[in-house]
């Protein structure tokens, strides 16, 4: 479904994303993890056409989409969400979601479909609220609903769980699972390890712009290189000593 080949992006002298290659098969949930500043969000921006890569290729569903503008990538069925939620402020929840739904629909059909999607993500009783009046959990759901309304084949979720309390996280996890069950491939950036462990089929770990580990959630979290990347040099040893 998604294949990245030696994808690279430099800002000034700094390699934000350095030769990242990965393959995500259709119908799976992949997770891109790594410490802050590792280049995960830049990676998403490269895939979704918000930034042009310096080198490397992005192939989506068999089509080379490298360097395509963002709206065309989205129309192809690859839709992203934003880490910092980006609602259409001043518009209602329903209007927000309808924008996602109107790509292939008339305005009226988009509004009706948006209401369905809202119900699916648990915003069914908030349709007429201004988007900016929602609490953080609601905004995250809105971000998700808007992307879902665009009926993506591949959904890029950038930290949809960040800022949610454990109860809210527990509510959203089955939602993501249901998205996959409905046939959408998912690639997520996530810091909430509970989500990665329970949802992801494949995990890629990014540090300083490069992939340092790949595998199942279990194998990756046991990888000393990963622990060091997160907690600093020597952390794996210290951690082993402390327990």
């Amino acid at each position: 479904m998604l294949e990245l080949t030696r994808l690279s992006k430099r800002f000034g002298g700094l390699a934000a994303v350095d030769s990242v290659s990965l393959v995500l098969e259709e119908g799976r949930i992949g997770a891109l993890i790594g410490p802050n500043g590792a280049g995960k969000t830049t990676c998403f921006a490269l895939i979704s056409g918000f930034i042009r890569p310096d080198e490397g290729r992005v192939v989506f569903a068999g089509r080379d989409i490298t360097g395509w503008p963002a709206h065309q990538v989205s129309r192809e069925g690859l839709v992203r969400t934003f880490q910092i939620v980006q609602p259409f402020t001043g518009q209602s929840v329903l209007e927000n979601i309808a924008v996602g739904a109107q790509r292939k629909r008339s305005r009226a059909a988009a509004i009706a479909f948006a209401a369905e999607v809202a119900a699916r993500v648990g915003l069914g009783d908030q349709l007429d609220k201004p988007a900016e009046s929602l609490p953080i959990a609601g905004r995250k759901r809105l971000e998700l609903a808007r992307a879902l309304a665009a009926e993506p084949r591949l959904l890029l979720l950038d930290e949809v769980l960040a800022g949610l309390n454990p109860a809210e996280v527990a509510e959203v996890l089955p939602l993501i699972e249901s998205i996959r069950a409905a046939g959408t491939t998912v690639l997520m950036i996530e810091h909430v390890m509970q989500a990665v462990m329970s949802l992801a089929d494949d995990v890629w770990v990014l540090a300083h712009g490069s992939l340092i580990a790949t595998g199942t959630p279990e194998s990756v979290t046991r990888d000393p290189a990963v622990i060091e990347a997160y907690l600093g040099h020597g952390a794996a040893a210290r951690l082993a000593g402390a327990t």
Binding site: S48, F50, P69, A70, H71, Q72, S74, R75, V79, R80, T81, F82, Q86, P87, F88, T89, G90, Q91, S92, L94, E95, A98, V99, G100, Q102, R103, S106, R107, A108, A110, I111, A112, A115, G124, D125, Q126, L127, D128, K129, P130, R146, A147, A150
Partner: protein, 367 residues
């Protein structure tokens, strides 16, 4: 809280000014007819509500000459409608699109000059001048939009570039011979519907009314259409819009073209009404200011904002003239003051006033 339905539409007008606002009740309540959430029904009904309100306003204004006897009254409403046209044109791009142009005189002046040049140099009838002028406005809008937005101009930069464009056109019109240079252009007086000139003031009144209603109807279409939803999405969050497959540049260019088209019609009307144009009159900054002031006063990005703003400003300027005597500079100064006051205290315009009051009231009830 579930306020009764009647609360929402004391008059059809109030509900339509507010039509950007969601219905004031929980969307758990489902309308009996469709079985859809109330919020959905409300949003779907937007077009019909606007059509009804605009239709009602159209009928009232069409009948108004029966009671407006003096030329003075007729002229007052005619010029307010003309101002509505300019405001509605600007509102497409500035209100619904969030791109503030300070140089809408470009389209206005082009419309006026193209029509005047065709009439004077080629002797074509005025209605062809209107069509050509409007087409020129559309083309200029598309071109200006394409240049500006392709290069990623936003916010204040866009405002400044449009302003500079208007200056360029003013200087060119001032310098080349076929526009009559600084002397300007005078068109012949030749009355008749095809010539868009009339013996009685009523003729101009109805011409202004038709143009203003068309412009408001276009605004209403933008407000409730798929295109308008895309435009508002780009205005409210361009990145999010792009992520959902909206070609932001294209949408903004289209809005500029649409806006330029209507603005050019304003220029042609000006030409037919006053029979005379010169570079400062039609490309000068006061035209651009008049276009943006109405919607800002009446309510940015609302269907009726330009109408409310234009009539409110016309009224204020009448009162000012009455109190201060004939001092056009002072009433312009007053316009400037109104602009400052509106932006400072009522950024949603007069149209937003109702919403503010209602919000306060609801908050009071809830408390």
């Amino acid at each position: 809280m579930h306020p009764p339905q009647s609360n929402r539409s004391v008059t059809g007008m109030a509900s339509s000014i507010e039509d950007s606002a969601p219905p004031g009740r929980g969307s758990f309540s489902r309308s009996a007819r469709s079985g859809q959430p109330a919020a959905v029904t409300h949003l779907l009904g937007g077009t019909m509500r606007s059509v009804r309100v605009l239709g009602a306003i159209g009928i009232v204004l069409a009948l108004a000459p029966l009671v407006l006897h003096s030329d003075f009254q007729l002229t007052f409403v005619t010029l307010a409608l003309y101002s509505t046209l300019l405001g509605a044109a600007w509102n497409i791009l500035g209100g619904f699109g969030g791109q503030y142009s300070f140089g809408h005189a470009v389209f206005f002046g082009l419309g006026a000059y193209v029509a005047a040049m065709l009439q004077v140099h080629a002797g074509v009838p005025a209605w062809i001048g209107l069509v050509a002028g409007v087409a020129a406005g559309a083309a200029a809008g598309a071109a200006l939009g394409a240049i500006s937005f392709r290069y990623g101009l936003r916010g204040s930069y866009f405002a400044l570039v449009t302003l500079a464009m208007a200056e360029v056109f003013r200087i060119v019109a001032n310098s080349v011979p076929f526009t009559g240079a600084g002397v300007g252009m005078m068109i012949e007086l030749r009355t008749g519907l095809a010539d868009l000139q009339f013996e009685s003031r009523r003729g101009y009144y109805y011409l202004a009314l038709v143009l203003a209603l068309v412009a408001l109807a276009v605004g209403s279409w933008v407000r409730h259409s798929r295109f308008g939803a895309a435009l508002a999405a780009v205005r409210d969050n361009e990145d999010a819009a792009r992520a959902l497959g909206i070609d932001a540049t294209r949408v903004k260019v289209a809005a500029t073209a649409l806006s330029g088209t209507l603005m050019a019609a304003g220029g042609v009307f000006y030409l037919q009404y006053f029979h005379y144009i010169d570079p400062s009159l039609v490309f000068g900054p006061s035209v651009s200011v008049e276009a943006l002031l109405g919607p800002i006063v009446g309510g940015l990005g609302t269907v009726l904002g330009p109408l409310i703003g234009a009539f409110a400003l016309a009224l204020v300027s009448q009162i000012a003239t009455h109190l201060l005597g004939e001092a056009p500079a002072l009433s312009m100064a007053l316009y400037g003051l109104i602009l400052i006051v509106m932006v400072t205290f009522l950024p949603r315009g007069i149209g937003g006033l109702g919403k503010l009051v209602r919000l306060r009231a609801r908050r009071g009830r809830d408390a």
